[in-house]
């Protein structure tokens, strides 16, 4: 009996590993691009979670630090088979992309003196600026919706550009600022804006599926 259960557990760990190995290489663009692929495998194919559980998993994974794909994998793995399950899921999720980045790195270091390749990177550099600007624009649409969020944005930009405050400190301060602002607002008797939370997340899940910028 015990041996049987043990085998079942091992089997499940292997299944988790393979499911995520399969999802990972198809997730170009990271972040929200992974959601449809994860849902299809976990909910439709394996039937490990139902739709409601899945949307819970996604909303939590989206707000914790780290990539939403990796977080969702950890969470799903943990729910299925504890810590072993979560490690299997993360390994499955990261191994293929790790190898691909590694091989691309090797490939491009081989061509680092090639004029054509360097010319291509000059073009790509500009495209990345456009991609980042677009991510900023998308993010602003869902995160800036009242005076205090706008003010926070401006102050943060000022701190970053003129005072050269390290980004990591700005992030931590942002969390505390949020608590402070909400405290003050509650004291003054406004509640309204906190609920934008859920709405923006729902929107994000499907329309902006490929940008890893939503939290």
């Amino acid at each position: 009996m015990k041996v049987e259960q043990h085998q079942k557990g091992t089997r499940l760990v292997i299944d988790i590993l393979f499911s995520f190995l399969k999802i990972s290489p198809t997730t170009f663009g990271g972040g929200y691009a992974m959601i449809p692929a994860i849902e299809k495998e976990i909910v439709d194919n394996r039937k490990w979670l139902n739709e409601t559980e899945m949307s819970d998993v996604l909303s939590i994974s989206g707000s914790a630090p780290g990539g939403i794909g990796i977080n969702a994998a950890t969470f799903i793995g943990y729910r299925l088979h504890g810590i072993k399950g979560s490690i299997a899921a993360v390994v499955g999720m990261s191994l293929p992309t790790f190898l691909i980045v590694f091989i691309l790195g090797l490939f491009f270091s081989f061509f680092s003196d090639n004029e054509k390749v360097n010319a291509a990177f000059k073009g790509i550099q500009i495209a990345i600026i456009a991609l980042v600007s677009y991510a900023g624009y998308k993010m602003a649409k869902t995160s800036i919706y009242d005076k205090s969020t706008f003010l926070t944005l401006i102050i943060t930009l000022f701190l970053l550009i003129y005072l050269k405050v390290p980004p990591m400190i700005v992030i931590v301060a942002g969390g505390f600022a949020g608590i402070l602002i909400m405290k003050v607002k509650t004291q003054l008797g406004y509640f309204k804006n906190v609920t934008n939370d859920q709405k923006s997340k729902e929107q994000y899940k499907y329309t902006d599926y490929y940008m890893g910028d939503g939290i």
Binding site: G67, F108, I126, A127, A135, L160, I171
Partner: protein, 177 residues
């Protein structure tokens, strides 16, 4: 190597929002440690964006690789992954309910605009370091063309970032090669 691991672990803990929001955070650390120059960093992001998987983790893998080869790649990737793993296990086992709490909501109320500012800041840094911020030249015209095309395809046609990267690479090859 320890330094590399520790740095990416710190980044992992604050990587709310993931993806492009983490570019300035990684950039800051990379330039403090003098691991890469600007051109190499841009290459790192380009390669990360070309590969499947999360941009931030891919960037870590590539930066680790370029500093300390395969071990660097492994160490940087693990450093980025471990905080997510720990935090998610903690949430899954204990804090599942707490997560809907008001404090958490307030934290995100402050975090979201900060993350937005970071992304805008990333775009600004990269633009000032590129030829987009130079005097009139042939390069500038080509770059403006790529920039506007890329934004147009993204906003109007919702094209996939991978396609944008490949196209701009081809345009770069055609004009600068």
């Amino acid at each position: 190597m320890w330094e590399l691991f520790w740095t990416f672990m710190k980044i992992g803990f604050v990587s709310f929002g993931g993806g492009y929001a983490m570019i300035p955070v990684i950039e800051h650390e990379v330039s403090i440690h003098q691991w890469m120059n600007e051109a190499q960093f841009v290459k790192a992001i380009a390669i990360a964006g070309m590969s499947p998987g999360p941009i931030a983790i891919n960037t870590a893998t590539y930066i680790g690789y370029s500093i300390l080869d395969i071990w660097g790649a492994i160490v940087a990737t693990l450093g980025m992954l471990i905080p997510s793993l720990l935090i998610m296990i903690l949430i899954a086992s204990l804090l599942y309910k707490v997560f809907h709490h008001d404090i958490v909501k307030s934290v995100f109320y402050g975090l979201r605009p900060v993350i937005t500012a970071l992304i805008i800041f990333a775009a600004l840094i990269m633009a000032t370091n590129s030829t987009l911020y130079s005097s009139f030249s042939w390069d500038l015209i080509v770059n403006l063309f790529i920039f506007i095309m890329a934004l147009y395809l993204l906003i109007r046609h919702h094209k996939h970032p991978l396609l944008i990267i490949v196209l701009s690479g081809l345009v770069g090859m055609a004009f600068f090669g």
